[in-house]
């Protein structure tokens, strides 16, 4: 099934408008899957602004879109400068190795380790973006 062209265009716009963009299940304040929660936790430690999109309302159509854009259909997904960085596994590896900090142009946090607990209640990032379902 081909991707919905309107949704794909919207996604491409959002990727263009956000240097760091996270597609996740749920929101940064309330992640709805363990992998999404872990990826948010990593981004919080990076102390960088990011956009977040809750994929749950538009899950299947969005899988088609990201499948076409990046050949990647599972969530969460992190994009930096419009390019797919990866899912939770890849981002955690890059976080621990310092590559993520380098990619984002921030300082590697001390005692960097992939978090296993819930993100802080008051995250410092731009509000999550809502994309209307197709």
């Amino acid at each position: 099934m081909p991707a919905n062209p309107e949704l794909k265009q919207k996604v491409e716009e959002v990727l263009h408008e956000n240097r760091v963009l996270l597609f996740m299940k749920g929101t940064p304040e309330m992640p709805r899957c363990g992998f999404s929660m872990r990826l948010v936790g990593v981004l919080e430690q990076m102390r960088t602004e990011y956009g977040a999109i809750d994929v749950l309302p538009i899950l299947d159509p969005l899988r088609e879109v990201t499948g076409e854009i990046s050949d990647w259909r599972t969530f969460p997904q992190l994009y930096v400068n419009g390019e797919l960085v990866g899912g939770c596994d890849i981002v955690e590896e890059m976080f621990e190795s310092g590559e993520l900090a380098e990619l984002l142009g921030v300082q590697q946090p001390e005692a960097a380790s992939a978090p296993s607990q819930a993100p802080p209640a008051d995250p410092q990032q731009s509000p999550p973006l809502q994309v209307d379902g197709s």
Binding site: F35, D71, W72, T74, L84, V85, G86, G87, C88, D89, I90, E93, M94
Partner: protein, 67 residues
Amino acid sequence: MITDALPGAEVEVVDETGGGDHLRAIVRAPQFEGKSRVDQHRMVRAAVQPRMDDGSIHALSITTKPA
């Protein structure tokens, strides 16, 4: 399935929840040499796609290492 798609790979699969549907695959393969992590993950994912499509694997964590 992974070694079929990636001959010569060393694969370890761990069942993360005991239920058989949340798996972690640790894959070391010469085919990963010089490829980005995203590409390495795509290769592993492509190898197990039928199991993801039929729902028998719900979540797959992947760790890849070049040989």
